[in-house]
Symmetry: C2
Subunit: 630 residues, 2 copies
């Protein structure tokens, strides 16, 4: 399908917005009126620039407060419209978005509104313009798509149709299935926006918090499926008002936007396959060509996590790994990379990452996630189609070919063949025996990598959600806000619980603070275990004391849980925190910070606990601040 | 009255919060439970620190979801409470905040809730603790203060009273006048918070957007007046959840908080005077001592605005002033400061401000506002009592004594004696005749300084509102959000329309962008006039071309206004913008940017127009960006 984006979704001047949309690969744009008014380019010049960039102008918007007015106002509104039709001729755009009247004075009389919109369509005819009437969620009289369609049907003019906007429909909880009953040729335009679920005034929600499909909480696949089932064949067009996107690099936002439509089309295409003929609506409907991506990735878990550390921190990382029961088993055949293993859990420790000291000032960081997938070649093809930058790796020709792409925060995501350990070709690159004096771990009840926590750059938090969702097939949860001593942190988990693949993305709510400087904030690798006390004891005995949790925490635990005094005392000794949800329980502790931004966590899940101990995060962050202040 | 602040209102560790509260001059604190849990200090140590700082601990909070539960849960909740009572003994605090049950499972049975709260008070008695029951705005069964009072009255226990929180009451639109009917001795605690009017879920509104009294949209003076009329004699305590305060310097936030209570007490004290005995409630009520500040300032308008400019920009400022009809009339007797006058409108041009090149990188800026007031000595005393830092000015002993204090963004605010120009002592310092070759203005229809627009540091926007409100007696309007090409800008006007004293404060919504770097964003001085076309023509003929507004703007004006083609063409030629509200009209144009961040605006108000042309601000900001890109 054709893909379009409203200029209001991007930052910059109109010219910058057009260039960014074209560079990302969009077919067209909606011109947002204020962007044109603010531009020094006359409309004909805008048209010429768009043409030279290969962009069509699919919509001019918005035209406000037209219908449901008294007769004198109608004449003035028609004059106002006529001036816009002339402008649209110059601009080379044939569809005008007319949104439902939001003024207090709007008259609630469908026949009047229909007659007035009919007049508007008549007036538009000589200009070759058609009218797409949209029900704003906050329209005074008309705020529901079904209502806007009844009026358009009553007006019955070939140049009058409706515009559907997913936000206006889904934010109100309207059932979009009724869209299937609207003739596709009367749906003149489709605007798509997702949004996080928020309990707030719909106008403010709409103007500040929209995001691209797949980044929020709405089901855009189902929504768009209804519109296609109705027979809509126009562009998929993104209209996203977002405070962060308005202030971010427009080229990058446009690429993110296009990715969201690729994912949406791919999902729609797969749904159509699945539905087959039986679910097709009766009557002949036009079919549209949907972008099909390589098959979704089937991850089977973490193959490894790579940590890069300068020598000053590497020793602390090694000590922590050994104390947690990891063993330094092998070295890379050609690079200063150590393989540390605990059963099939693997951590790579890289002391030569070329980005060290460049991308971030911290001297230890998780720089790569190795994801085991059933089809590494397919995975990288899908990721590249999703605009993930491929990461070239300098390697000698004998080394295994291992595909990696860059996540939005720069973390490398490697696709490793799933299967038995020794069959993994990448492991074959680790042939050097561990050097003399290598650290050997103890027997600890670790079970694998539970999750990885990554602090994100402020501008790319939504982008990262969509990246992991679309590239790795993870499902994002709703965001939480957690209080650090220096400000709030937003946290969002993405999970694939069936294969125990979990990532937690964190971002500073104000985009600043000790945890959100240019170096990026804290990162951690959480290891699952089957016995939190044994794991903690082993780490202690291995010479690494846990992050110290205040006694006050344990006094509070005593007041609100049934944990025995002995258990609590045991927990206090080892800095073990506790959370509970339903019948599930969660025990976890942390290593100290290892080099400014990296730490390990050890977690034990009991009884189906599926969270991350978020209630304890403020105490962990405060304890880390106290530790670093020492 | 005693003044207190909840630790959750400030950033940092518990220790940092206590020190900040004490440094600002608070008498006590509410300890927010999570702050204690996160602290490495045992409760006795916290008590000792507070005592050494001269702070009492007035409240421990919150204790959640206690009442309206089944019998088994009641027993567990009482155990939970008992642990907190023991903690409170160590902490040395005698009042526990119990907020109404917010769980889905809460039972709606007042008799049960009353009986359970009675049990709680009985349990608290041996510990010397009393219970302050608060209706959360989102309480499941109890969410209104009148309801919480009915339950407390029914429970009828001397150790059980209510806690009133202005946010929970005013956010729901409840009438606070009923508070007068509650016996004062049963109001155990009073929490104060203001908030901007927002249409959003009350829980989110409460947790992120509260602010200090006088910074938001609630009438805290009337609210607190009701509580005092009821006979409340406890502390005035601030409990403010605010995303920015949570991430800002706690010492500065605490000072701002204390200022808000001084202003509140002063206003209450004046209301009591005004009300006299007749408005006093029947029956003997305890009286409380309210802080009384020097009388509010009676400004009569702008005496001057001072611009500091490095030589590279000063010439452009001089050219603009001359073109606008100002005349360089005199020089300062001892400093390189020029006096430019147009009638009684005065601009000082300072080429020696010592802050130049230090505070900001821009090379021209409005550094001082001269405010004419009836009682300059009283004004500075009031400002200093409101914690405004006095600004010493190096001057030779013969110079006039001119008081200045620093606004939160560093702008100097001078209090000048109101009256005739030549009687102004500060003008007497300008004795040197203008040098040869001085610029002489032309006759332009300027009428005075209409307003000054100041970009604010992100952290101190609310502080600035309260500063200008309390120090100059300006009334803040609601904030607007305006789209610049690089992100949203929040704008808030503070006005004293009776004396035409207006200030517009602006801030980047994300705290960044070209207009919000360390140098501060754009500033402007808006001059009123009685004939916008004559003023524009004079400026053009004076050799200064206006900020160029795109032709597209005038095409849009043609579509939506009745302005004649000749008028529009005239406006286009001079870059004049237009706004309309009711019968009022607003015409305005801008000079180019004079040195990176400073520009002038000329405005004409017709028919009672009272705004600032905010609808045009996005186009102005886009035009400035285009100008600077050249």
């Amino acid at each position: 399908m054709r893909r379009s984006i409203a200029t209001v979704s991007l930052s910059g001047t109109l010219e910058e917005k057009l260039r960014a949309a074209a560079a990302a690969g969009f077919d067209g744009v909606e011109v947002f009126e204020n962007d044109l008014i603010a531009s020094p380019m006359p409309p004909r010049e805008v048209r010429g620039l768009a043409e030279s960039l290969g962009l069509s102008i699919d919509l001019y918007q918005p035209f406000r407060d037209f219908e449901g007015v008294d007769d004198a106002r109608l004449e003035r509104n028609l004059q106002r419209a006529e001036a816009k039709f002339e402008l649209m001729l110059e601009l080379g755009v044939d569809t005008l978005l007319v949104c439902s009247n939001a003024l207090e004075s709007a008259i609630g009389d469908d026949a009047r509104a229909a007659a007035q919109l009919h007049r508007l369509a008549e007036t538009a005819a000589p200009f070759g313009v058609r009218i797409a009437y949209e029900a704003l969620a906050w329209g005074r009289q008309v705020n529901d798509y079904a209502h806007s369609w009844r009026i358009v049907a009553e007006a019955d003019h070939p140049l009058l149709g409706i515009c559907l906007d997913s936000f206006h429909i889904l934010s109100k909880g309207s059932d979009p299935a009724g869209i299937r009953d609207i003739p596709g040729e009367k749906i003149f335009f489709l605007q798509l926006a997702d949004a996080p679920h928020m309990a707030m005034d719909v106008l403010q929600w709409s103007r500040h918090y929209r995001c691209f499909p797949g980044q929020g909480g709405f089901d855009l696949t189902a929504f768009t499926g209804h519109v296609l089932a109705a027979g809509y064949t126009g562009p998929l067009s993104l209209e996203v008002f977002n405070d962060v996107f308005r202030a971010s690099d427009p080229q990058r936002t446009a690429a993110d936007a296009l990715r969201s439509l690729s994912v949406l089309e791919d999902a729609l295409s797969r749904e159509q396959d699945g539905a087959g003929e039986t679910a097709a609506p009766t009557g002949a409907r036009p079919t549209v060509a949907l972008t099909r991506l390589p098959d979704p990735v089937e991850p089977t878990g973490y193959a490894f996590v790579e940590v890069a550390a300068e020598e000053s921190s590497a020793e602390r990382v090694r000590a922590a790994l050994a104390a947690l029961g990891f063993e330094h088993t092998r070295g890379h055949r050609s690079k200063p990379v150590q393989l540390w293993e605990h059963g099939t859990t693997r951590i790579l420790l890289n002391s030569a990452d070329p980005r060290l000291g460049h991308t971030w000032s911290g001297d230890a960081a998780a720089t790569a996630l190795g994801i085991a997938v059933t089809d590494p070649d397919g995975a990288v093809h899908r990721a590249e189609r999703l605009l993930a930058p491929p990461l070239p790796r300098r390697r000698d020709p004998s080394e295994s070919r291992l595909h990696a792409v860059a996540a939005p925060d720069g973390t490398a995501v490697f696709f490793c063949p799933a299967g038995t350990a020794e069959g993994d070709s990448w492991l074959g690159d680790f042939t050097a025996p561990a050097v003399q004096g290598h650290r050997q771990g103890s027997a600890t009840p670790l079970t694998g990598i539970d999750h990885v926590g990554l602090f994100q750059p402020f501008d790319h938090f939504d982008e990262a959600s969509l990246f992991y969702r679309s590239v790795l097939g993870l499902e994002p949860a709703e965001s939480l806000q957690l209080a650090a001593p220096d400000g709030l942190v937003r946290s969002r988990a993405l999970t694939r619980p069936d294969v125990a693949l979990r990532i937690a993305l964190n971002v500073s709510v104000l985009g600043r603070g000790p945890q959100a400087d240019a170096a990026g904030g804290a990162q951690h690798i959480a290891l699952g275990c089957s016995d939190i006390f044994a794991a903690a004891q082993a780490m202690n005995e291995g010479g690494v004391a846990p992050l110290r949790i205040p006694d006050n925490y344990y006094a509070d635990l005593a007041s609100r849980t049934d944990l025995s005094p002995a258990t609590r005392e045991h927990m206090r000794e080892y800095g073990i925190l506790y959370d509970r949800a339903g019948d599930g329980e969660f025990f976890h502790f942390y290593t100290p910070m290892l080099g400014g931004r990296l730490f390990f966590e050890v977690v034990q899940r009991r009884g189906g606990y599926d969270g991350y101990g978020a209630a304890n995060t403020p105490f962990r962050m405060a304890a880390q601040r106290a530790e670093q202040a020492q």
